[in-house]
């Protein structure tokens, strides 16, 4: 009862409710055990508000008329079963050994520029006349966001930001490199998609759009960073402006679902070591799943498993100075 009252007066305060409850040992016994959260998808589906979209554009957004390969048509990126021949692998390992190549720097290209970009891109990727993926359904059907290239950009940009928060926590020279590879690939891919899928033939127009998107990206990153460091409602405001297009009739349940989704991804990234993240082990948790905070024992068990896995990485190409502990 008492803890409920504490929560109720929280809007009037600028400090967080948790710090007050934690400092007050006597009050802790009144705390109810925390109920498990619903998945973002369940949460967003609870409300039956009429679905509306703001009328932002005079004409319908341009839709893709063709489909590029997901990342590229190169066999390494295009074929999930591709394996380099034994001889080529041996030569590669020898070159890395002889020239003492910094593999953490080299790995940024395939991991951030390809694997992680693919993770960001696929979340909201759609093509007309093709069934939506489960994650795309969450954005376009559950959250009722408009199907447009700009909307895809905003959702991909949100996922880029989630990853870049983790990349900042890597040693500076590696984190910066990972961020650079990811953002370079993002804009290169947008350029190709606009030219080949949306059939925009003028390079000048594409360049203008890219500059606009870049400006939007910088603005949204400042807003998301502010939300990350301050509180949920500030993050909700940033998501409302950037992902929900400032829709005045937005469903708060949808905004809450997305805030929970973003915070849960950041929590997973927070629990991941630099080494795991640098090796591309992270995948976004889909909106139909819920992330439950780890107990100390679970965390230690996970750390031990990861250490055992990376202990067996002895090839020159698997060398890394990235931490396994944080």
């Amino acid at each position: 009862m008492l803890s409920k009252r504490i929560v109720a007066i929280r809007p009037l305060s600028s400090s967080t409710a948790a710090s007050f409850q934690h400092k007050n040992q006597i009050l802790n016994k009144f705390n109810q055990p925390q109920k498990d959260l619903e998945t973002p998808l369940e949460l967003a589906n609870q409300s039956t508000l009429p679905k509306t979209q703001p009328k932002l554009l005079k004409k319908e957004p341009r839709q893709p008329t063709s489909k590029n390969p997901f990342l590229s048509d190169h066999k390494i990126e295009n074929d999930p079963n591709y394996k380099m021949s034994g001889l080529m692998q041996s030569i590669g390992q020898l070159v890395i050994k002889i020239f003492s190549i910094d593999m953490d720097k080299t790995r940024a290209g395939p991991v951030a520029g390809s694997l992680y970009y693919g993770e960001c891109k696929k979340q909201a990727l759609y093509y007309p006349n093709e069934p939506l993926s489960d994650t795309a359904k969450f954005y376009y059907e559950t959250l009722n966001l408009p199907r447009s290239f700009s909307q895809w950009f905003q959702i991909t940009n949100l996922h880029y930001w989630i990853l870049s928060v983790r990349m900042r926590a890597m040693p500076f020279k590696y984190g910066k490199n990972y961020q650079q590879k990811l953002v370079d690939r993002f804009f290169r891919d947008m350029e190709l998609r606009m030219a080949q899928e949306l059939n925009i033939s003028s390079n000048r127009i594409i360049e203008g759009y890219l500059k606009d998107y870049h400006t939007q990206m910088l603005g949204s990153i400042v807003s998301f960073d502010e939300g990350l460091m301050t509180d949920d409602i500030t993050l909700a405001g940033a998501l409302w402006r950037n992902v929900f297009n400032g829709n005045p009739d937005v469903d708060m349940r949808h905004v809450e679902a997305l805030v929970g989704y973003v915070r849960s991804q950041l929590y997973v990234l927070n629990k991941m070591s630099d080494r795991e993240f640098g090796f591309g082990k992270f995948k976004f948790v889909p909106p139909n799943e819920v992330v439950k905070p780890l107990t100390k024992a679970q965390e230690e068990e996970l750390r031990a498993k990861v250490k055992a896995e990376f202990d067996s990485h002895n090839l020159p190409s698997q060398r890394s100075v990235l931490s396994l502990d944080e």
Partner: protein
């Protein structure tokens, strides 16, 4: 007073406690939502159940439900690659610190 009006009033009271945006954006979440939930015609179209859910969601967001449930360590909040990144950003947003010409040159040259 009906339950419907009561919930709407609670939402408006909650929205009024939100601080002003630190920098002006193309739209203010607080202002736009205040106008929405003060519009009686608009509210009439929302069922009581949905209005309650809108209130619960807003209340959870204001109470930092997710920030407290998914607690982050200093690992992300004071990133070792750039420990002052968020302090500088928030300092600027709050108007406490201002980037001078030389600190801006340093940021561009060294990236932090």
């Amino acid at each position: 007073m009906t339950k419907h009006t009561e919930i709407a009033e609670k939402i408006v009271a909650l929205l009024k406690t939100l601080p002003k945006d630190r920098i002006s954006h193309y739209a203010s979440f607080k202002e736009v939502q205040l106008a929405r939930f003060q519009n009686k015609e608009h509210l009439a179209a929302i069922s009581e159940q949905d209005l309650m859910l809108q209130y619960i969601s807003l209340r959870d967001l204001v109470n930092d439900k997710y920030k407290n449930y998914y607690k982050l360590d200093d690992k992300l909040l004071k990133p070792k690659g750039n420990p002052e990144y968020y302090n500088r950003l928030l300092g600027q947003l709050k108007g406490e610190k201002k980037e001078s010409f030389w600190t801006a040159v340093r940021t561009v040259a060294f990236g932090k």
